[in-house]
Amino acid sequence: MPTIIVDGKSYEVGSGKNLLEACLDAGLDLPYFCWHPSMGSIGSCRQCALVQYRDNDDQHGRIIMGCMTPATDGARVSLKVEKAKEFREAVVESLMLNHPHDCPVCSEGGECHLQDMTVMVGHRDRRYKGKKNTHRNQYLGPLINHEMNRCITCYRCERFYRDYAGGKDLSAQASRDRIYFGRHQDGILESEFSGNLVEVCPTGVFTDKPFLADYSRKWDLQSSPSICSGCGVGCNISPGERYGRLKRIHNRYNHEINGYFICDRGRFGAGYVNGDKRTNYVGIKEPNGAFKAIKKNEISRHIIQWLGNGNIVGIGSPRASVESNYLLQKLVGPSKFSLGVSQTEHNILKRQVSILQTTRASNPSVREIEMADAILVLGEDLTNTAARIALAIRQATKNKAIAMATKMGIEEWHDSAVRNLAQKELSPLFITTTAATKLDDVAMKTITLSPDEIANFGLELARQLADGNSQDPQIIEIATYLTTAERPLIVSGPSLLNANIVESAAAVADALAMSNQNTQLSFTFPESNSTGSILLGEPQNLMLSDIIENIDEIDVLVVLENDLSRRLSAFEMTQLNASQTKIISIDVLENKTLEISDMVLPAASFAETQGTLVNNEGRAQRFYSVFSPLHDRLPSWQWVIDIAAVIENEELSAIASFDEVIDLCAQNNNFQALSSVAPDKNFRDHGLKIPRQTHRNSGRTAITANTSVHEPQQSPDEETPLTYSMEGLNRDQPSALTPFVWSPGWNSNQSLQKFQAETDGPLKGGPSGIKLIKSSGCGVSLDYDRTPSVSLKNNYWRLVPIYSLHGSEELSLHTKEISELAGLPFIMLSGRDADNMKVSDGDGVIVSGDDLRISISVRVSARMAKGCAGYSAGYNEIGHLTADTYVQINRDDEWQPLKPVVIATDRIASFKSEDNQYV
């Protein structure tokens, strides 16, 4: 490890670093703007100036840019010498020439890197008396606000948006002091990662628009360590609250998972927490069908009446925590519990877990995915089903460039040099999907196939890897790339609802792993706790269809955070509604299941309670409440305990704290480690609880003074080691308990480096989360179902699900901005089919199957498997379109771009394939 000498003091630093990184790692405050720990250096802002000396005798030294100079062994530099200080102050002064007088009305203020750096270099008085440049702003959509006057031309936005995230519609424009960062014209930013501009831009040019509309300063936000519930990746987030409203979500660094970036669903998709669809009070259905609010303690009276023969059945949910699901299963018993997903989904996910438990390949974290050097994606549109993984794969395609640079002795952080050297060289990425994906631009090859064909393709590839007998040049080529790679990666998942795809992915990975133990196999899981719910499931569990079939024998059905209308057909929902069974729904938002329930128990959202979620990798992570639940809401695990008390289940009703719930869950073999996921409630940091508020949280004696001038006690938090106050220290605690980052002099999110062992490295508080899935490494025995694929008659299409980051996820869709971006539900056609039908984007078609007729809008995909048409999966209004049904599609001449209109749904039974009418 090299040693550098800064102002006469020696520091040992990591190898392969530049001087800026080395100084920051050494705990020194060296200002910077354009360097980013994850995007490297380009030396454009000139802020990180140091003086470097040739040797001991050199008294003058020369000014160098810290971020552009390698930290070589024995390097002598000075941060403090007057020359360097003057230079850095001059840089800030020049950046300030045109900077507007905006701080009070800038939502970056208080967490602005430019403010921090200005104070750090000591620049105070503006000497320039001339006029300031101004710019027109652009409308960039509902998520990002643009205030171009504030730009300091560091280029971070463009480098993140284009180079890192692959966006096309934001760039640096014009020249000299006319330079402008924006789109070529007003319009919604296309990238799924646009929200990261908020954190990447060191100034207030790009800010969080929904947050701006209900703004509070960072110092006033109450935050907590939380986990995104948008998909199965489990990115770490830091949500901020004030006045009982969830205000914004920031990235929370997790070295293994999200690093510095999250997707826009994660950042902007939680607005539903404040929405008017939230359930607030216990509701009981009156005979006239309306709900009446009742007191919490009145629930027992009703439930006792309903008990009848005492046959209680529970339906869990892949979006509820491990604890809530586990308690409900415990309450009703495994043989009366359903995990709450469709049978197809259940089987595939269960198989994914069992594959991960036996595969010879390893199951990578997002960071490990970034290190792959040849990648095969089977059947997943990752940008829309596991966005953060797609971003990691995009980085992985740059590994070729890094390898080329390393060969020439160029450091990885030398970003523009690495890019220039590599030009268009990318690590091989192969994507087999039914439709175009956003990763296509970095793929070496995209292969457009129907779901069955994808599975066959994978199987063929696995055979080629095993015996090398394939005749297909494409298969041979891909096999060669995968076998010659050092760290090949196979990614697949359940999104096409085809079990064979998952099997074939496992076969490919296993075949590769025979000769290369660095082989990685990653599966996506659709919801935030899909993996956890599979792990806690028992073999006796019911399927949803079993419940519907025997619905009349059930007295009480407890539905936990699950909108069954997204899993059942309209017909099954009607059956559920028509039955005598009393339905108790515990949920966060109003939905179609609540409508047909007899009792509604208002559940705390992820922001109001704590629990554990297991991500796609099998990593269990704990999230904590940001504020205590308002109104009569309770955590759903608490509701289950309350129900247990009513039906006199002594074991559950004796539970007095969340930690006891965890202890109970640990009885399940898969969850023995659950209590070590995060410290228990007795944990103290320097003898104190960990504060959710900053030390400068304001207004304590005025916030509630309008109702009573006597200040209430801070709401207590008996369940966790965190507290709803500013007392305590936010430092030195385990990473799983870090609610926000701040450090003296570093008010912006750049203060993160004070929490890291090294820049872009692990956190000082250690890794957070515990991996619950370990592979035995004995290899997967294939379970491939060889039903021959059907060839379709002309004029029939097979429906395949198409996912959208904004629109396909249940809860986020109830956020105003997200539903605006989601747009109308749609049918996706290939260009050729669209031409034949004489429709284009935004036109309408009539989709007719044997039991439905829907008029719906059209999107055209750059590529779409032959005979397939996509439908927007997860969009609320079209629960009638389901995967693998066969439909006719015709132009709708009377199309009005409104909601899709369901013309008829006499769904009587599920699709009957035996009558063969489509083949």
């Binding site: 009070p104 440049n133 702003n137 205030e147 701006l212 509070s216 300063r217 207004g699 004696t701 001038v709």
Partner: protein
Amino acid sequence: MLSSLRTMWHIFKHLFQKAETVQYPEQMPYLAPRYRGRIVLTRDPDGEERCVACNLCAAACPVDCIALQKDTRDDGTWYPEFFRINFSRCIMCGMCEEACPTYAIQLTPDFEMCEYDRQNMVYEKEHLLIDGVGKYPDYNFYRVSGLQTATKDKGEAINEELPIDTKSLMP
């Protein structure tokens, strides 16, 4: 011993000095405009609310007795949706006034704030907002700031160039 005598001598001298005590409230003392008493929110010379809801006063307040929420007008300018001072906590230190970048919040020479009911010491925006400019007659933050407003386009603020034409090819 000596110091005790000295003290006694000093106190004795006071017998012959003019009394400072005034007959309050019949006789009002002179309080300078910068005296730190009851807090008001002022308006700019155009009669608009000056406060831009930046929250700096709240952050500066050592007893945390200011709470507000920012809201946005149709033209994008910021203003406080509510603004509350709990005067039963306020120590009239003037830190808020010092922190305020817009001269909105000002302390006045009115110190006569007595209530039988503490609740009446809680002032909302309608109680705080006065019709005048207070001690600073001229300042209007939005004339200086780069933010576009309904009455001021980009480039029309003090010391601003007209907006840049990014399409220009001039060197």
